[in-house]
Amino acid sequence: MTKTTLRGAFAATTALSLIASTAMAEDYTKYGIKADVPGTCSFEAIDAKDYTGRTLNIITHAIPVIGEPTALHAQQFQELTGATVNVVHVPFGDLFQRIMIPFQTQQAAYDVLFHASLWLGDFSPFFAEVPAAYQETSGMKSVTDTYRGVSLVDGKLLQYPMDGDRHYLKYRSDVFANPDMQAKFKEATGRDLTVPATWEEYNEVAAVFNDFDFDGDGAPNFGTAEVTKRDDLMFSAFISRVAAYAKHPDVKGGFFFDLETMTPLINTPGWVRGLELFVAAQASMPPGGTSFGLGDEIFSFGGGQTLMSYSWDDAFIQAMQADSPIRNKVAAAPLPGAKEVWNRTTGAWDTFETPNQVSYVTWGWSSAVAAASPNQDMAFDYLCFFSNEANTMADLQIGRFGVNPYRAEHFDPAFYQNDLGWDAAVATTYADTLKAVDSAPNQVFDLRVPGVGEFMSSLAAGVARAQSGEATAQEALDGVAAEWTAIVDRIGKDKVKAAYANVVALEDK
């Protein structure tokens, strides 16, 4: 047999099977998707697999954020392949230890893990690399460089991208467009009301509209809702506020540390300025706003209590729910910037005409397969199925799922307009903002190194001391810097440095 005939025969059988499958084409729309999208992990391809008698164990976040789609696709996977799929849901405060204890004690407890991508530095030794076949799928190919980047360790793809997260500014467009409010603002400050381009402006706008009934419902509204509760992702809010002052566009080689020496940079003037503004903004927060967790922030901005906020998509999506009182009265924009940026090579503040804007690509749910799992084939099939194009497009439409744009095609405003019924203006600001973050020239990423939990809880404790007035911004961050130096020494400078090099490579690309 020659090569040609072989190929011919192969083509013939493929054609045959295609015909056969079309003939008995199943209707997969009952699973809540618009239409199956052909590919390696389509409903049809997974339906063809038989995992009867095998069990897949999955650990994921609490319901509904990520937890609900995990359970939904697990149910579907079970029906399609005959496998038994067990899912356990864990609140994010406890997720890390729940995954780490079995890892460290060599217990193959879970096959598939959904986790925060910033933990990659700790988890990477326990993750299985995504096999080449899955890296070639159309779904994987269209993941943007940013979100592929956060899953790489030394060039190896260790996480299976299934979500994209970042911080951006959210504000009440109805208030900003209201002439009365504009007049009020002008009277108070002498300048026109614009979407804040710097954090100083952000604080100023928040202060003017704080404790003021801008929506006319009889209850006072407030300036800003931020995640401020210690040990509750507050570190992300803080880094968002700092980045523009501390991440000079022309200075390479590290944001948290100087990569060369691994000296912490967190007590440098840019960081201190960011913290001072964070502390100052407390005056414009709603009652209790100085101990808001993420859930409180979501309710506060998403429920229409506050004028502005910045964090992940959740509050924005909450505001855009079909029954939300402020639906289509919100807009998104990139995080405010800074006109003065600390330059650590010259040791001076550099002034910028156009504010220095820095995108913070933070958190982001991700998924992976345990290296110790005996079911890696099935596990990767599940993840590939979870994030196949049909499922992802369906998941993106359900706000509470927490699956947010991470593929090139997700940044199309038409999708939000047509499928979710958003106003064109809202859809455009949303899609454009997300796209801008994705392609921003100046980005910072989470500290994806071993011991990230330790670094961040130390940072949060320090920031909390400044917030409560127990210490000045400089004192608090000096304390954190000392702790960070100790942590680096304890874990090992080389290990932290090697992992941090991956992060810096993304920032300095």
């Binding site: 890390f96 210690r230 509750d232 209790g288 409180d296 309710f299 404790a461 409560s468 007035g469 127990e470």
Partner: protein, 288 residues
């Protein structure tokens, strides 16, 4: 005297020792290692963790705060529990209903109740501040100012565990014999004097036990702090076990947190022994 006495004691003792022995020895061993997120395993670093602990100001501050918190809450619980027990002891309409009602908070799951309490203390969406305002007392910054956050934790603890004191003291009251009261009446003692000369002394032994157990349990407070304040604002509500939790589970410094815990264990055992002795001397008459 009797050989059989060991048949009673040993099954329980041995089972307990069997279950607890490995974890205890393991913890002692781990406390001399640097087991952390990146280097799991039992290496030997000598007393390094204990040296670090000695200089860890946050740990000692947390211990001080815990002392204040547990002593405050247990005292309030004891006084309130005693008062409530006296009130529903006798001469009260529908007292059985109130007895059941007063027991219920103890039955609730702390981790779930803490989330519920957080919604109650929520300063703009929760029900507490509107009620205080309508009573003319005014809203309070429950979770965002140091003093109030501490008070919030105390309130939750008092709500949950006053029933514990209440139950033990009520059971004690109901089992008191009648004769001393008759005698007091003949002496012409008023209710206050009767309480201090008859009731209170007779409940001394129960009081000591109840206070000690509550002190042990109150000192482990973790979930309430975690959910309500995460130790904030600043470090104003950070207690020992929460700090150990942060070091152990969040930072995953297993070795260091083992050292913290063992130190805590020893301090507690010493403190409780002393407190027990003092309480017995103060409250139990026939102790000498």
């Amino acid at each position: 005297m009797y050989r059989q006495k060991y048949l009673f004691l040993l099954p329980g003792l041995l089972v307990l020792v069997a279950i607890i022995l490995f974890p205890l020895l393991f913890t002692i061993r781990v406390s001399f290692s640097s087991w952390d997120v990146y280097n799991p395993g039992l290496n030997w670093i000598g007393g390094e963790n204990y040296g670090r602990l000695w200089e860890d100001a946050r740990y000692w501050q947390a211990l001080g705060r815990l002392t204040l918190l547990s002593v405050t809450t247990v005292l309030i619980q004891y006084v309130l529990g005693f008062a409530l027990a006296l009130m529903v002891w006798r001469d009260l309409a529908a007292r059985r209903l109130f007895r059941v009602l007063f027991l219920i908070p103890m039955m609730t799951t702390p981790v779930v109740m803490s989330v519920l309490w957080r919604t109650i203390f929520h300063e703009s969406l929760g029900p507490l501040n509107p009620i205080l305002e309508s009573l003319g007392i005014g809203a309070a910054p429950w979770l965002s100012s140091a003093g109030w956050a501490f008070a919030a934790v105390v309130i939750v603890e008092v709500w949950q565990w006053t029933p514990f004191m209440f139950l033990l003291l009520l059971a004690g009251l109901l089992s008191l014999p009648n004769e001393p009261y008759l005698a007091a009446k003949i002496d012409g003692a008023g209710p206050v004097r009767t309480f201090f000369s008859v009731t209170f002394p007779m409940l001394g032994a129960i009081s000591v036990g109840a206070i000690l157990i509550r002190l042990i349990e109150a000192s482990k407070i973790m979930e309430t702090v975690y959910v309500l304040t995460s130790g904030g604002p600043g470090t104003s509500t950070e207690t020992s076990s929460y700090y150990i939790y942060i070091r152990g589970m969040r930072d995953f410094q297993i070795g260091y947190s083992a050292a913290l815990s063992l130190t805590y264990l020893i301090i507690m055992i010493v403190a409780l022994t002393v407190i027990a002795k003092l309480l017995v001397r103060a409250l139990v008459k026939d102790a000498a």
